[in-house]
């Protein structure tokens, strides 16, 4: 272990090592920039939500003023649903780059509304955003490799290795102290900007501590890798080549292979297929006899069996019934899609132990609530809310209740703050 004297000696030595200071400075810069970019992105998402919330309320008031028919009100009223970023999301944006986190939904067929929304920039699905999780899981190992790859081999090349070994009071000295100090310094350079950003954004200390632990363990893993390669006694260039090769394998090749294998092992329909199938079902309903819609609707909603007779060519209850049937038509596809995403996520999570950078990134996303599980949980909250909307409108549409503003006031509102834990949600079909 390192004594106080050994630590102060190596701190002084490190403080005079310009190359090491350069890499540590770059680590601070990378972590600082990634945290700043993450905070800016989250601030931008909050600003978008502020704007949307304001316009959402205003638009609903306009619709309520304009229309006095429940069918029109249900048709023209949009409801903002969204997944507000958690306070730690700045560190690991995760699925917020890939999966939608806000929808403007109506009481129409839902599944198409969920899956027609695209991510802001699909390219991010390929390269990911430059957030702290990316910096800590993929770039930090490279910096540690640069700091440690020539710890012994550099001294050997300079003709100091035997002198250092012969002079040191203990056999592990000064190598352990040097490596520990550099590893610790790198972890500190990464974690300090995270804490500054986290505390300024209101992140809980427990989340910051947990994220710091993930970063520290990941860095320690790479320290062990560097130590193993260093023990082979190769020259510095060979060490560097070997370590970069290991990094390439664990950070790029293995995660890519896992992704390819998981996608092959767990096939799933794409969101576009769900949307198209639902739209076809809804559009076809216009040309079908009314019972073709109302019969499957009643199977799901027997409580409205006494109200299914449609006398006019167009009635709102029939219109909303075939919207519902559209959802019922794609329910198996939608369930397969969500189930597939959850299974892929679980499988990828298990296999991530083979690729520590991917494991670290996933862990940070889990802490930030930005993983696939959180995305699926949000979609389920949208479904639950949409189900509540239908339960609100159906009695008014089927019983043809008169429109009253008092009744509008009791309409369900989406509660974005009702956040379940970021665990895989129970998979349910389209709610009745």
């Amino acid at each position: 272990m390192i004594g106080v004297n050994g630590l102060s000696r190596e701190v002084g030595f490190l403080a005079r090592d310009r190359a090491a200071l350069l890499w540590l400075g770059i680590a601070v810069l990378i972590a600082g920039v990634s945290v700043a970019l993450g905070l800016r992105e989250i601030a931008s998402q909050h600003a978008v939500l502020d704007d949307l919330r304001a316009s959402d309320q205003a638009e609903r008031e306009v619709v309520t003023d304009l229309y006095r028919d429940w069918g029109d009100v249900a048709y023209y009223t949009f409801h903002l649903t969204y997944d507000p970023p958690a306070d730690f999301a700045f560190a690991a944006l995760g699925q917020r780059d890939i999966s939608p986190w806000k929808h403007n939904i109506r009481a129409l067929a839902l599944e198409g509304q969920i899956y027609e929304t695209d991510a802001q920039n699909p390219d991010f699905a390929l390269i990911g955003r430059f957030d702290f999780a990316f910096a800590a899981s993929l770039l930090a190992p490279l910096l540690l490799i640069l700091l440690l790859h020539d710890l012994r081999s550099g001294e050997r090349a300079a003709g100091r290795f035997e002198l250092l070994g012969a002079t040191a009071a203990s056999q592990g000295s000064p190598w352990f102290a040097r490596a520990a100090l550099r590893t610790g310094a790198l972890a500190l350079c990464l974690i300090a900007p995270l804490w500054i950003g986290g505390l300024s954004s209101g992140s809980g200390v427990s989340k910051l501590a947990l994220a710091s632990l993930v970063v520290a363990l990941h860095i320690v893993f790479w320290w062990v890798v560097c130590a193993l390669v260093d023990r082979a006694g190769w020259s510095s260039p060979v060490n560097l080549t070997a370590l970069v090769g290991v990094w390439l394998a664990l950070a790029v090749v293995v995660p890519t292979a896992i992704k390819v294998w998981v996608e092959a092992a767990v096939p799933l329909p794409d969101g576009g297929e769900i949307m198209l199938t639902q739209r076809e079902a809804v559009n076809d309903a216009w040309d079908l006899p009314k019972p073709a819609t109302m019969t499957p609707f009643i199977e799901r909603h027997p409580e409205w069996a006494d109200y299914v007779e449609v006398r006019q060519p167009f009635e709102w209850k029939w219109y909303y019934a075939f919207q519902q049937v559209g959802d019922q038509t794609v329910a198996p596809l939608s369930l397969a899609y969500r189930d597939g995403r959850a299974r892929r996520d679980r499988l990828a999570g298990s296999l991530a132990w083979l690729a520590p950078p991917a494991l670290a990134e996933r862990s940070l996303q889990a802490i930030a609530g930005t993983g696939v599980a959180a995305s699926l949980a949000y979609e389920q909250r949208v479904r639950d809310f949409h189900s509540a909307l239908r339960n609100y409108y159906y009695p008014r549409l089927f019983r043809e209740e008169p429109f009253t503003e008092a009744s509008v006031a009791s309409r369900p509102e989406f509660d974005a703050l009702k956040r379940p834990e970021a665990t895989t949600p129970p998979l349910r079909g389209t709610p009745p």
Binding site: R9, G159, E162
Partner: protein, 239 residues
Amino acid sequence: MLAARSLSVERSGRKVVRDVSFNIQAGEVHALLGGNGAGKSTTLLTFLGFLQPSSGSVEVRGLEVNGNVEAARRAIAYLPEAASLYGHLNAFENLRYFLSLAGADTSRKELDAALDSVALQADARGMRMRTYSKGMRQKVAIALAILRNTPILLLDEPTSGLDPVAIDEFNRLVRDLAGAGRTILLVTHDVYGACHVADRIDLLQNGALVGAFERPAGMDRIDTEAVHAAFARHAGAIQ
């Protein structure tokens, strides 16, 4: 203080030291003389525990090095050939770093005294060592070996890079250290220097001892001509 007993060492599958034995008493200066690849430095590194004997053993203060490496190293100050200390540190910083590594706490006065003893210019001591000549770097390394204040010094080509005046000063320093009770094993291919400083010279050729010379009682050096002739006969060429 130091002993090699039927020592053989292999490196990369090749036997580079063959059945070498010697015994060095306290206060004695012992030189291993030989050409390049004779096995001199390998023998030194075996005393420091960096290399393991393939057969035989080496002992430091009666303890076999194998299994007692830390104890052996604590008793030894080692001066490697063309010692390259840290170029981004000055002489004082280098000495403090290495001495701290050895667990020693040394005052500025003691550092200056050691650097005085190796005749390093005072105005150069605060300069970064990357600006030093090879000889100046060697002087700082010698000062380090002195400051370690160990009973044994292992010196690998210690006068390499030194000018003739500095070599004479170094030889005097070695004799003084021996006179103060230090045991010194130096390896060199400098016949003249070895004859002037050593109490005993073992001649190494292809890893084997091929000759031994001792300082005759009452003489201030070993017979240079005799060593020179033996060296030439065995090595084929004087370095």
